[in-house]
């Protein structure tokens, strides 16, 4: 079966003031229909740039310098700007942390959704509004007819984010990329939206990439998890594998530092040092200065993928259970 989204060797660089940084470095993963892939990592690890690269939204001084992005088997790279624009919104759609990146503040929700429908499909305004209403319904918006008449600022933050998700759904895209889509929301509202997203993947068959820094969110939402560090995917596996039996020292360190897993008041295991700057990465393994398992080889040779069901980018991965 072809994956809905197949990313191979994706590499994105930014050339700023002489020194170039590789924000996304040889990233590969695939997502099948109806599955949710959680892409986790700390700030600056390259999650958003990965999302933007897939969407063809990298502008100069940035450049996707290598890799393939296959959606339903067709490569998006090499498409003309015009063709890529057609893909966006119809085959691949993105949801951002701030819903106002998607919504136009001066148009009623219904009008802008109807416009978005008619960009890609010929139909009457009323038919388009009906599509919009159905999309709002799918994401659990109460009394959708009323919301169609509202302006974005008349809605709460949670409601605006649902509208942005509904917009993403309008053309039944094969792939939806959500970048920190619930990070700014309250937990009760986040819980509602995560529940909707899970159902949505099951019902519409969309392949979803859920980008977040929150391990708890991906561990409850995602089917598969990719952990990013300094632009690379350092570990990839099913949610259960990665959460219950992490094999990369970084993943293990992250999970161990979560307070919920320790008796109250006890010292938390901590990863020493700080998140690295891409312009000053050490030779060899980028995690080496913080890694408890590092050996000589880690200082000189960058680790390559070790694949045995669970991919680990490490010279000394933790034992398989």
């Amino acid at each position: 079966m072809t994956a809905a989204l197949d990313v191979q060797g994706l590499t994105t660089r930014f050339a700023t003031r002489g020194d170039a940084v590789t924000a996304v470095n040889d990233v590969s993963f695939s997502v099948e229909k109806g599955r949710i892939l959680g892409l986790v990592g700390e700030s600056g690890s390259g999650k958003s740039v990965t999302g933007f690269s897939i969407m063809g939204l990298i502008d100069a001084p940035g450049e996707v310098s290598a890799g393939r992005v296959l959606v339903d088997g067709a490569d998006l790279r090499g498409l003309s700007d015009e063709d890529m624009r057609k893909m966006r919104g119809s085959k691949v759609a993105m949801v951002f942390q701030d819903p106002m990146m998607t919504l136009n503040p001066v148009l009623r929700v219904g009008d802008q959704m109807a416009m978005a429908v008619r960009v890609h499909r010929k139909m009457s305004k009323n038919a388009a509004l009906e599509e919009a209403r159905r999309a709002l319904d799918t994401v659990g918006i109460p009394s959708p007819e009323e919301r169609l008449r509202a302006y974005p600022h008349q809605l709460s933050g949670g409601m605006r984010q649902r509208v942005a998700i509904a917009m993403a759904l309008l053309h039944s895209p094969s792939v939806i990329i959500a970048d920190e889509a619930t990070t700014a929301l309250d937990v009760s509202i986040q819980g509602q939206i995560l529940a909707e997203v899970r159902e949505l993947a099951d019902e519409t068959g969309a392949a979803i990439v859920w980008i977040t820094h929150d391990l708890a969110v991906v561990s409850s939402l995602a089917d598969d998890i990719c952990v990013m560090y300094a632009g690379r995917i350092v570990e990839r596996g099913t949610a259960q594998q990665v959460i219950e039996h992490p094999r990369h020292p970084y993943t293990k360190g992250l999970l161990e530092s979560i307070p919920a897993l320790h008796a109250p008041g006890t010292p938390l295991p901590q990863i020493p040092g700080s998140t690295p700057q891409l312009s000053r990465l050490p030779q060899g393994c980028p995690f080496r200065p913080r890694c408890p398992r590092a050996s000589d080889i880690c200082t000189t040779v960058p680790p390559a993928d070790t694949v045995d069901g669970q991919t680990v980018l490490c010279h000394h991965p933790l034992e398989r259970p």
């Binding site: 700390e42 937990v187 819980g191 509602q192 938390l268 700080s274 998140t275």
Partner: protein
């Protein structure tokens, strides 16, 4: 229990302002251009004992920061009072607020915004103690270096500017700056919220060390339930400006009594529970401009009855040093009193 050093008694805080465009459009506000009143805090009563860390939890806009600021003497309460060792922390006269204490220090979420970008960190640390004559002038430099070491930084960092520090280091500097004032009470407002997970653990460990070494008393404000559970002795849950539940942390997490607390706990994703379905709280958080009648949680509460729509529940005892503001704990939801 030891005598409380910090007393928050029947504190309300109201803000009056002109309605924004959005509010007028949504029609949350009746009467068009008239000023609206936000009920940020309604009749909050809390004691904090010497050496205690009290967690303050709730969703956005429920009044956590307002409570922190009232305690720090940055806001004066509209009603009620806050006293530290029996003395008020602030006084209001003619619309101005006099902060009466340096003994309560606040640490904010964004470690960058709270440091002067052009001032060497050592200078930033020394500013407050020098101004308030807390440390003799000749001891300042040495004291600042030892403070930096106490928060896990090198003394030599005193000569650096804030942008030369990482987020976690800047939060350490912010903690050192608060400690430099030799406070009796710290108010940490989402102090680890903007830090990466791996750095958050470092700062939480530092906080727990300092607490043990210095016997700190603190209000620990956070929306992160697992962080609060880890560092707090007691926890106060707030909803729309009101205290709805107060309990020792362990008891609260084992058995949340207020329907809002229970629902909040159930809607939080946790690592490794294999939980694939979220229990969700229905509905949205109401506006503090026009809070629901009776129990403010009633439009979202699965247990709400007729009494909840008309009568606001009082905080009542619920055993084990716990209090809950819910009719279920006070005669039931059926009859209106």
């Amino acid at each position: 229990m030891t005598e409380p050093i910090l007393k928050i008694e029947n504190v309300s805080k109201r803000f009056t302002r002109m309605p924004g465009l959005a509010e007028r459009l949504v029609g949350k506000v009746v009467g068009g251009g008239k000023p609206v009143t936000v009920h940020a805090l309604s009749d909050v009563t809390l004691d904090v004992a010497q050496g205690e860390v009290l967690g303050i939890v709730g969703e956005s806009g429920c009044g956590k920061s307002s409570l922190g600021r009232v305690v720090a003497g940055i806001y004066a309460p509209s009603d009620g009072r806050v006293t530290l060792n029996g003395k008020p922390v602030a006084r209001e006269h003619g619309g101005n607020i006099d902060k009466l204490t340096t003994q309560v220090q606040m640490i904010h979420q964004d470690p960058f915004a709270s440091l002067n970008p052009r001032m060497k960190v050592g200078e930033t640390l020394a500013e407050g103690p020098r101004y308030h004559n807390i440390i003799p002038a000749r001891d300042v430099a040495a004291r600042m270096r030892s403070l930096l070491e106490q928060v896990g930084l090198e003394g030599a960092y005193a000569d650096r500017l804030p942008h030369q520090f990482s987020g976690g280091q800047r939060q350490r500097v912010a903690i050192a700056r608060a400690l430099a004032m030799e406070p009796e009470v710290l108010v940490l407002d989402e102090a680890v919220a903007s830090l990466d997970v791996s750095i958050q653990a470092q700062v939480l460990n530092l906080f727990m060390d300092l607490r043990r070494d210095l016997g700190l008393t603190a209000l620990f404000i956070s929306h992160d339930l697992s962080v609060v559970r880890h560092v707090c002795d007691r926890v106060a849950i707030m909803y729309l400006g009101r205290l709805v539940e107060l309990a020792p942390a362990e008891a609260l997490y084992a058995d949340p009594k207020h329907p809002y607390t229970a629902a909040l706990f159930a809607s939080v994703p946790t690592v490794g529970t294999g939980k694939r379905r979220f229990e969700t709280i229905k509905g949205e958080i109401p506006s503090p401009i026009n809070p629901p009648s009776g129990c403010a949680f009633h439009p979202r509460c699965p247990h709400a009855g007729p009494r909840c729509r008309v009568e606001a529940p009082r905080l009542t005892e619920a055993g084990q040093g716990r209090t809950v503001a819910c009719h279920l704990n006070d005669g039931g939801v059926e009859v209106a009193a």
